[in-house]
């Protein structure tokens, strides 16, 4: 089960837009289903975690504008949410 999300970021490099988050697994480990809601788009990924591991999970998207970006994990109360401008160009 996911024990925490942190560092939710949006990257836009030359039109390729990505949202990433750092996720920390609990002592159980296993495959986690993580859902990204990026403004009006929803993306789901499955990621395998070692026990207590922390790793970056990212998805590409085509949403545009400023709005809510939310990341949740199946079977976990953990969530992270920010208002972001996903079109904002990233620093080179």
């Amino acid at each position: 089960m996911i024990a925490g999300f942190i560092r939710l970021q949006s990257v836009n490099k030359n039109g390729k837009k990505t949202v990433s988050v750092r996720a920390t697994e609990d002592a159980a480990g296993g495959t986690e289903t993580i859902t990204f809601e990026i403004i009006d788009q929803t993306k789901t990924v499955q990621v395998k975690f070692d026990p207590n591991a922390t790793q970056t999970v990212s998805v590409d998207h085509t949403a545009s504008g400023e709005g809510l970006v939310t990341v949740t994990a199946a079977n976990s109360p953990q969530t992270i949410q920010r208002v972001m401008d996903v079109d904002k160009p990233s620093d080179p």
């Binding site: 024990a3 925490g4 999300f5 942190i6 560092r7 750092r22 920390t24 809601e37 403004i39 009006d40 929803t42 207590n52 591991a53 922390t54 949403a63 545009s64 504008g65 400023e66 709005g67 809510l68 939310t70 953990q78 992270i80 949410q81 920010r82 208002v83 972001m84 401008d85």
Partner: protein, 516 residues
């Protein structure tokens, strides 16, 4: 001779008893005869000043003690509020606030103070706004109201002018200080906004409405949230005693400013929630117990993160860089949100109202008591030897000016002053018998009376003295007339009376037009 000595003892006993009785306020009236008591109860009920006079003294004395210790601490509990002369300058706000002075009546006067003396909701005015001007209004217990004309504040001192007040009244003065917010105060407002239930509810509503929508729709929902935030900020300012001079303009400006900073305004709380997740142990990094860490407000967390370098070695190694990054973003968001709020409040003027209700009840009359030189009484006198109860009217001449209300604190609190405030020389005339006597010994029913009066309160008095009259004695057996018939005689009398010059309509005849 025996009768004279007995009369002197009786008169002295009366004076001692009256001092004790008047100190207990209106209870003293109960010692009068039933006929007088019925009359006095009605009069006291229609004019609070009479009753208040008796009960006001202990309360005022106590206030004076508080003011002395809380203010300069110089004079101790024996200092009483004194009537400040308008000639010697303005009334000091600090003295008025601590009830060390009472206000003059019958003449306009000024109140001056320092901005440091003014408190709004328990906070110093200077910590909230930089006051630029002061105005206000006032109202007295007898219905007199007035406006305080706007006066600019150049430095730290201010002065306002008050119109004429009526004597023996209580006053509530509302001072309105106007100026821009102090920048350091805005951070506190932001923190209050972020934890305000209305704001957190608005953010949840925003998240619900915006969920899954296109960006323009989400921003429309964010604009609504910004308006809610603006309302919360306005309410917070109001709770601190600050009211915008132009509420509509402020709400518009504030809503726009918050909306322009919607990311940091919304994300500050979200980042704080992330940092409070136990898995990252930021509480340990700040050497705080988890329970204490969770109680921190956004401002307190920002101060803690800036005030002492967190020991990130306490954070799990795999998340260390992430936590440091999140901390950086939290601080940036908090500052950005504060700058947005400052921008929204910039240029807006606020009015902070400080109400000085020093005369909100009868026990704390703020205006000087009316200074009287004479009183005019009507009442009933009893002569023991004549066994007659007669009506009389008397002019009471005081030994100098006295307060209309004998319970008002005298300038000098000495036994002699206490006595001077109450005693008077009585000269007048006894009129007809009211006890039903059919064979009065007083020729022509009229008699000259003289003596001493002692005031119980503003309206009631006991007078004792001599009754000088010419006799009309009944004819003896066989129609013989007594040799004493037609001679001038005098008898001792005592009786209660009411001071009709204490009634407001007659006060100006017997009193000074201005306080000293």
């Amino acid at each position: 001779m025996f009768y004279s000595i007995r009369r002197c003892i009786l008169l002295a006993s009366c004076l001692v008893c009256l001092r004790d009785a008047s100190a207990q306020g209106s209870g003293a009236v109960a010692s009068l005869n039933p006929a007088t008591l019925a009359f006095s109860a009605q009069a006291a009920g229609s004019a609070n000043g009479g009753t208040a006079g008796a009960t006001g003294t202990p309360a005022k004395g106590a206030t004076g003690a508080t003011g002395a210790t809380g203010g300069t601490g110089a004079t101790g509990s024996s200092s009483a509020p004194v009537c400040k002369s308008t000639v010697s300058g303005a009334i000091a706000y600090a003295d008025l606030k601590s009830q060390k002075v009472t206000l003059p009546y019958g003449t306009a006067f000024a109140i001056t103070g320092s901005t440091a003396d003014v408190q709004l909701g328990g906070r110093a005015l200077g910590t909230l706004i930089t006051p630029q001007s002061v105005n206000g209004d006032y109202g007295t217990s007898d219905g007199v109201t007035g406006a305080i004309v706007d006066s600019p504040i150049g430095g730290t001192t201010w002065t306002v002018n008050i119109g004429k007040l009526t004597p023996d009244s209580s006053v509530t003065i509302d001072f309105h200080f106007t100026g821009p917010l102090v920048p350091s105060y805005v951070n506190g407002v932001l923190t209050q906004m972020l934890v305000d239930p209305t704001f957190t509810s608005a953010t949840k509503e925003f998240a619900t409405i915006a969920h899954g929508k296109l960006s323009p729709d989400q921003m429309a929902a964010a604009a609504v949230m910004a308006q809610s935030a603006a309302s919360v900020v306005t309410a917070i300012l109001k709770s601190n005693g600050l009211v915008p001079k132009s509420p509509d303009d402020l709400k518009t400006a504030l809503g726009a400013a918050i909306f322009s900073k919607i990311e940091p305004v919304y994300n500050a709380n979200q980042r704080m929630a992330t940092l409070q997740e136990p898995v990252y142990n930021l509480a340990g990094a700040l050497s705080l117990a988890p329970a204490d860490f969770d109680k921190l407000s956004p401002q307190q967390l920002a101060d803690a993160l800036r005030g002492k370098a967190p020991d990130y070695s306490k954070v799990p190694e795999a998340s260390r860089g992430d936590v440091q990054d999140e901390v950086g973003h939290f601080l940036t968001d908090f500052d950005d949100a504060a700058s947005g709020l400052t921008a929204g409040l910039q240029g807006a003027l606020f009015t902070g109202s400080a109400s000085l209700a020093v005369g909100s009840d009868q026990a704390t009359d703020a205006v000087c008591d009316l200074q009287k030189y004479a009183g005019f009484d009507v009442g009933a006198l009893y002569s023991f030897r004549l066994s007659e109860l007669r009506s009389f009217f008397v002019v009471h001449i005081y030994f100098g000016s006295v307060s209309a209300r004998p319970g008002a604190p005298p300038p000098k609190q000495t036994p002699a002053e206490w006595l001077r405030q109450r005693t008077s020389l009585a000269l007048g005339m006894a009129l007809s018998d009211i006890s039903g006597s059919s064979n009065s010994k007083i020729s022509g029913q009229n008699a000259f009376v003289y003596g001493l009066g002692v005031r119980l309160n503003k309206y009631f008095r006991i007078t004792a003295g001599g009754l000088l009259y010419r006799t009309t004695l009944p004819a003896g057996p066989g129609g013989a007339t007594s040799p004493a018939n037609g001679t001038l005689r005098q008898e001792f009398f005592i009786g209660p009376s009411i001071d009709i010059s204490g009634l407001s309509a007659l006060q100006s005849i017997f009193a000074k037009a201005k306080s000293n």
